[in-house]
């Protein structure tokens, strides 16, 4: 197809909007007049009518310049333009001269083409909207607006989605507090109140609750909306679902806590090795020191002392060995361990003590009957905590030990073992940080060796569990083990 033919083709096409300028007279194409909603009779196809009635004022001046430049100096142009149709509705066009569209020109005629760009703009808005939607969806960020004057709140669809409310749900101001977990409702109301009253923007991490009662971590940001008189007339902001990130952060914190506690156990262990072994070695050297100073008879007496030192040294080393093997044993195979059977075995092994102290053990393992664990550890944990409870019984009453299992809903349904006694209790303010330390005893009982709880804690933690304690003097103690 040759170029003139192309031009002829285009121009003869009834759908094309254009002006043709021949000898300073402008001819508007049928399609153009029709597009603008005019009939051929009612339209004056002059540049003045065009400038006065059709073109949007913002585009008037540049178009005028372009137009006269084309007519007088043959300067081609291309510009965006807004045109008003007969109903007063603005339509967006791009106008181009024939040179711009690279079609052969007839020397006597100049042509300005008008191409609708409305579709394009629509597309652009749609594209922008698409990006906005995608960003909001991918980052789980929903927007909201609270209008103080109308006393209404508005949510976008992402907010509804994050909060698991149906698409047609209309939020109200009154239900606002329901969106937050009970423990965070004060935090939320403080942030909103302060923002609404003093205009202080907020950016907080908060536990929210969905319509389905599912808790999740959200980042809530909000800022005030002012009217012209600079009064706060509403709040605007976003909720972002950061549960994944927050859970990871929480897990990381937990891991870091475990590492910190392992580190502190290692440090404790190093300290024990240093302190407990040193105390024996220093006694030995003191004896040797003294042997030189005393007479024969007393020398024999001092040799007796060496026996004592040697005995204590052995005990210490046995204890240290016990601690070291815990870490090695943690690699042992786990198997299904029944709480009830283990408790029965433990009770049998200390049957004598239970009888003489008139101890009652009440157990309830209906919630969780067994767990995958190292059997020897479960044995040792129950034995230690039960004998502990009996050892530190209250002087005025017989020991009652209540043992039960349950799932911790707040902590990923972890299995929890609880051992509760009615004993003399421990002053946790005084001894809290030392309770699980080695060779720490807090009672006057002569059989306190200060190793039991240290071993128990080590065994539990070597299998990634936790042990915590609550206690009240003269009331009793509760040990809680999370597996």
């Amino acid at each position: 197809m040759t170029e003139p033919a192309l031009k002829k083709n285009i121009i003869s096409n009834n759908e094309i909007c254009y002006w043709e300028l021949i000898n300073n007279t402008s001819h508007w194409s049928k399609a153009f007049i029709k597009e603008l909603g005019y009939s051929k009779k009612k339209v004056v196809t002059t540049i003045d009518f065009f400038l006065d009635h059709i073109i949007h004022e913002d585009y008037r001046a540049p178009f005028k310049d372009n137009f006269y430049n084309l007519v007088r100096h043959d300067v081609d142009f291309k510009q965006n333009i807004l045109l008003k149709n007969k109903e007063g509705k603005y339509l967006e066009y791009i106008c181009k001269t024939n040179d711009e569209i690279a079609v052969d020109t007839n020397i006597n005629s100049k042509t300005i083409f008008f191409f609708k760009t409305k579709l394009k703009t629509h597309k652009k808005v749609r594209v922008d909207n698409f990006y906005y939607q995608e960003t909001a969806t991918m980052t789980s960020t929903g927007s909201w607006y609270v209008d103080f004057e109308k006393k209404k709140s508005y949510w976008d669809n992402i907010t509804r989605k994050i909060l698991e409310y149906p698409d047609d749900y209309i939020p109200s101001l009154k239900m606002g507090y329901k969106l937050y977990a009970e423990e965070h409702q004060t935090l939320a109301s403080n942030a909103f109140f302060e923002c609404g009253m003093s205009g202080k923007p907020f950016d907080i991490e908060i536990l929210m609750v969905t319509a389905n009662n599912r808790k999740f971590w959200a980042r809530a940001m909000g800022k005030p909306v002012f009217n012209d008189a600079e009064q706060i007339i509403g709040l605007r902001g976003v909720f972002q679902d950061i549960d994944d990130v927050k859970q990871k952060e929480i897990n990381l914190e937990k891991t870091s806590e475990i590492i910190a506690s392992q580190n502190s156990r290692l440090f404790n262990f190093a300290h024990i090795v240093s302190h407990n072994l040193r105390s024996h070695s220093s006694n030995l050297s003191l004896i040797v020191n003294l042997i030189n100073e005393v007479d024969k008879e007393e020398k024999l007496e001092l040799i007796e002392n060496i026996k004592d030192v040697s005995h204590s040294l052995n005990t210490t080393i046995e204890h240290l060995n016990e601690v070291v093997t815990i870490q090695t044993n943690a690699q042992q195979a786990k198997e299904a361990v029944s709480f009830a059977i283990t408790l029965k075995q433990v009770a049998t092994s200390i049957n004598q003590i239970i009888k003489t102290t008139n101890t009652t053990i009440v157990s309830d393992f209906t919630s969780i009957e067994d767990i995958n664990y190292i059997p020897a550890y479960m044995d040792s944990i129950l034995l230690n905590l039960i004998t502990n409870a009996i050892k530190y019984k209250h002087k005025d009453r017989d020991p009652v030990i209540k043992i039960r299992t349950y799932l911790d809903f707040k902590d990923n349904d972890r299995v929890v073992l609880e051992i509760k006694d009615n004993g003399s209790g421990i002053d946790l303010k005084k001894f809290g940080d030392k309770l699980f330390g080695m060779y720490k005893t807090f009672h006057y009982n002569t059989d306190a060796r200060g190793i039991g709880l240290f071993i128990t804690k080590n065994q539990i933690e070597s299998l990634n569990g936790e042990i915590t304690v609550e206690s009240e003097l003269n009331k009793g103690t509760i040990f809680t083990i999370k597996f």
Partner: protein, 136 residues
Amino acid sequence: MDKKIELACIIDDDNIYVNLVKKIIETKKLCDHLLIFKDGKEGIEYFEALLQNLEEKHIPEVILLDINMPVLDGWGFIERFTKIRNKFNSPITLYLVSSSIDVRDINKAKSLSSVKNYLIKPVNIDELEAVFNKSA
């Protein structure tokens, strides 16, 4: 060493150590009488009771205090002792004697004005003699 110490006090849960020090004190005749408590609580209770019935001959001139003890440790003893020590008219010199070589313990001891010195176990005979001489 013009004036001999009459009464000294050892607060330590290590029996073997206590017996050995006792033997040294007796052999070297470092002081006339010796009070021994097996933990901080027994020790502080003695001093608190002493306040009720202040008799100078029952106030020790030297205290050798261990750090790691059950029930009430050396630090706990010092905390309570510092509150009452000014009520005694005679000076009481306090030494910490521990097998701990933990710098945190040593620095903590140095930071306390009520502690005259920190001795690391094993203490030898010369060191003990020096303690009893200096306080004289």
